[in-house]
């Protein structure tokens, strides 16, 4: 049953890694504006298709 040391050790380390990732994402401001990116995502598509059309015309 010594494997318990390893399994618990690994699970705690994995949990801590995720925790660090979360803290980093908060620090970088990911959660400060949760609305605009959802709209921006849709616009990006539109611009790309527009550029393509322009190139085709030329």
């Amino acid at each position: 049953m010594e494997v318990v040391y390893i399994t618990i050790g690994v699970s705690v380390i994995v949990a801590i890694l995720f925790f660090i990732a979360f803290i980093k994402s908060v620090k970088s401001g990911q959660y400060e504006d949760t609305y605009t990116p959802s709209v921006r995502m849709l616009f990006d598509d539109e611009l790309v298709s527009e550029k393509k059309e322009k190139e085709q015309i030329k």
Partner: protein, 789 residues
């Protein structure tokens, strides 16, 4: 879209629309924007939303001050000489196409590297290259496409303080530790006797101990600090029993695992801190796009044009000196007191007093800071610097400098005093009893009492009840500054209303005609004469008269500034203006009126009255049952009689109150023990709003401007004010009920503690159960009482 509405902004194009590309435009501004967008292939702007633009304002010369190096330096967030970053607050951001246009600015101006919108905050952050464009061009560009940024002195003076994320870190650490510790403690709860478990028990216990350390010393540190401060000020606030509970929990758990006598209460400890912090987080509702701290600085312009020897120069407002000659353009604010030198001054003081009809001034008249010029450019000479001006002097009063003191007592703290004394007494007597009965149990029982009495549920009921109410109010457009405001509202005894702009509406003005009946031709003639005049009252009356104008030419047109007009049309001589001007005795004192004589014969007068807000009568009737009502106005007594008739009998009236008088009036009421709520709107109420226990600013457009206050109410919802007040009182009752429930949980827990039976598993069940049930209870009840809002 109807045929006659503007393709860009949707406004009515009138009889002669500007046609471009087979599309109708109401003005050249809209056409230009369309052209810009069209040229730059940004046409799908119009696919996203029909008529997305807002009307651009006249901007020429307005932003010249952005060439001043000092101002640029203050506004820029970052600059390394080549690239600069600037952030604007743009109130008119309101839909998805706003984001789209503003984020594609680099197509309109190549010098712009990136632009990024934060929609909830209504801000735009632009990165641009200094050698290709500059701040002025940038601002003019975004203004010309209809997104005028809000640049104020406040932005220049204070760099924005970063959002405090400490609480989020504290909660996340507590959540992390709570989850893991709960898993680690389960084996011992359910299968203590198993052989292999006994072997690994020490590892589980020490892991729990290690994880709880950051929770106690980082996540919970504010409770210790607050408890220490409270005791220092001789106040037993709610954080005292919490801090006591946390330390006892931690110490007893540590001792148990060090001496190997038990598993400790680490899961309860971290769970307790997690729930408490969650309550704190929930209560912290902030409205990113609103500011409750604005003073005159955020309303005043950042720079002004001065004239030295005939040369115009832009200087920051704070550098204005006595004797300077200022040029105030149309739609610009007067930043300091001064004397009008030349030009047509029609000053709109609506932000100061709420009065919507502009005041006409003649050269030599005194102009007060805070007014907005509405009729072309004027020149004025400065007689007071900004900090000494009539209006801004108000801010030197002490109320604006008071800091939040620690002595603020909320409902939870007022009960915790008795609570703390009670649990300490119980713990003391339980200790004495067990000392004689079974001395080995004393430590166990005393610590168990302190642990179980830790007022988690008690401390959670107020944050969740009030936090939920804040959200409901915010959803209904009644924005509160913080949680204390709800408690303060529930204690109010007197409500004071400002008159103009608060109980009267800003935009609509009621016009009445009194006198001999006018014939149709005469009315049309009057309208034709009014068309030629730029006076604000003339324009109001012109809009009010529905008849068509006469198709004849005006002869002998003569306008005497500040007095009236004399003109002849179709052989009808019309003289209209002040009573003096038409040679009549004034019929109405203290009222705005236009007197009319036709062919030398006096006919009557048009009076201008502010229209009162919808439902005002009902609001006052409902409120007068519970509160003492006072109207405190800076105006003259002109409408006193009318108001007395309209409003409940016990309403008091105070007229001719200067801004400082209002502040002093509230102070004197407070000294008599009244809890005062001030409802106001303009800058002249700012002192009163700050002095009162609860200051509510009524705002026609919550994004634009409101003086510093505790709450902002959308003007359209004025008739719901009584409902909001009742709900605040009810919220406090809900909290009191939930206190009773949490006492019940404490009594149950106390039974286990006093009999020495408090096992970790009992605490682990009782503690979350009480907290969660309280949270669910207050959330459901607060939603239920506000369902009819």
């Amino acid at each position: 879209m109807s045929l006659n509405s503007c393709y860009h902004c949707g406004a009515d194009c009138g009889k002669k629309p500007i046609v471009f590309n087979e599309k109708n435009f109401c003005c050249n501004g809209c056409k230009t924007v369309y052209e810009i967008l069209n040229v730059n292939e940004l046409n799908c702007y119009y696919d996203l939303q029909a008529t997305p633009g807002t009307i651009p304002t006249e901007i020429k010369g307005k932003y010249n001050y952005l060439e001043n190096e000092d101002i640029i330096e203050k506004l820029l967030e970052f600059s390394d000489g080549e690239t600069s970053v600037v952030e604007f607050y743009i109130p008119s951001i309101h839909c998805s196409s706003c984001i789209w246009v503003l984020e594609n600015l680099n197509k309109l101006n190549g010098g712009i590297a990136t632009s990024m919108v934060n929609f909830p905050k209504k801000t735009l952050r632009v990165t641009f290259k200094n050698n290709e464009t500059n701040l002025k061009q940038l601002v003019e560009l975004i203004t010309s496409i209809g997104y005028e940024p809000y640049i104020s002195l406040e932005d220049a003076d204070t760099k924005k303080n970063k959002v405090d994320k400490k609480l989020i870190y504290q909660v996340s650490i507590a959540a992390f530790a709570f989850g893991n510790i709960m898993l680690l403690s389960f084996p011992e709860y359910f299968a203590v006797q198993e052989f292999w478990l006994n072997r690994y028990k020490p590892m589980f216990r020490w892991l729990m101990f290690v994880m709880s350390i950051p929770v106690v010393f980082y996540s919970a540190k504010d409770y210790f600090i607050s408890a220490y401060k409270g005791i220092k000020h001789k106040i037993l606030n709610i954080d005292v029993p919490i801090a006591l509970g946390i330390s006892v929990l931690f110490l007893r758990s540590s001792i148990e695992i060090i001496l190997n006598i038990g598993s400790g209460f680490f899961d309860s400890l971290t769970g307790l801190i997690f729930f408490l912090l969650l309550g704190k987080l929930f209560q912290q509702k902030t409205y990113n796009f609103l500011s409750f701290e604005r003073d005159y600085k955020s309303y005043f312009p950042i720079a002004v044009t001065i004239i030295i020897d005939g040369i115009e120069k832009n200087i920051p407002v704070k550098d204005i000196e006595k004797g300077n000659r200022l040029l105030i353009r149309n739609e610009e604010l007067i930043p300091v007191d001064g004397i009008l030198i030349n030009g047509n001054a029609a000053i709109d003081y609506s932000f100061v007093t709420g009065e919507s009809i502009p005041v006409i001034k003649k050269s030599g008249d005194k102009l007060f800071a805070g007014g907005k010029q509405t009729a072309g450019a004027i020149e004025m000479e400065v007689i007071n610097t900004m900090s000494q001006s009539y209006l801004t002097q108000l801010w030197s009063n002490d109320v604006f400098n008071k800091k939040n003191e620690i002595t603020i007592k909320n409902i939870t703290d007022s009960i915790s005093k008795y609570f703390t004394i009670a649990i300490l007494t119980i713990a003391f007597f339980a200790g004495i009893f067990w000392y004689y009965y079974n001395p080995s149990m004393v430590f166990n029982v005393v610590t168990a009492v302190l642990i179980i009495a830790c007022p988690c549920a008690l401390a959670l009921s107020a944050p969740f009840a009030i936090g939920n109410m804040l959200r409901i109010f915010g959803y209904k457009k009644f924005y509160l500054k913080n949680a204390e405001t709800i408690e303060n509202i529930s204690k109010i005894t007197t409500i004071i209303f400002d008159k103009t702009g608060t109980i009267t509406s800003n935009d609509k003005t009621k016009i009445n005609y009194e006198g001999d009946k006018l014939s149709l031709v005469e009315v049309s003639a009057i309208k034709s004469v009014l068309r030629a005049s730029n006076h604000p009252l003339s324009r109001l009356l012109y809009k009010y008269i529905k008849e068509e104008t006469l198709d004849k030419e005006l002869t002998n047109f003569e306008e005497v500034l500040g007095s009236g007009i004399n003109a002849t049309i179709n052989n009808i001589n019309i003289k209209l203006g002040s009573a003096n001007f038409v040679g009549e005795k004034s019929l109405k004192t203290n009222e705005t009126a236009i007197y009319i004589t036709i062919n030398g014969k006096f006919k009557g007068c048009f009076t201008f009255k502010n229209s009162y807000r919808k439902g005002m009568k009902e609001v006052f009737e409902t409120l007068s049952k519970t509160y003492k009502l006072i109207i405190l106005s800076g105006d003259n007594e002109g409408e006193k009689r009318y108001l007395e008739k309209l409003l409940p009998k016990n309403t008091q009236f105070e007229f001719n109150q200067k801004p400082e008088n209002k502040l002093e009036y509230i102070k004197s009421l407070q000294e008599k023990g009244e809890k005062v709520m001030m409802v106001g709107d303009g800058l002249n109420d700012a002192g009163a709003l700050a002095q009162s226990n609860v200051g509510i600013a009524i705002s026609e457009d919550v994004n634009v401007f409101s003086p510093a206050c505790d709450a902002i109410l959308d003007a359209k919802l004025f008739n719901k004010l009584p409902k909001f007040l009742i709900l605040s009182v009810q919220t406090i009752s809900v909290i009191k009920v939930s206190f009773v429930i949490s006492f019940f949980y404490n009594i149950v827990g106390m039974y286990f503690a006093l009999t020495g039976q408090l096992e970790p598993v009992v605490a682990a069940i009782l503690m979350p159960l009480s907290s969660i049930s309280i949270v669910v209870f207050v959330t459901i009840i607060t939603n239920w009482i506000s369902r009819k809002l």
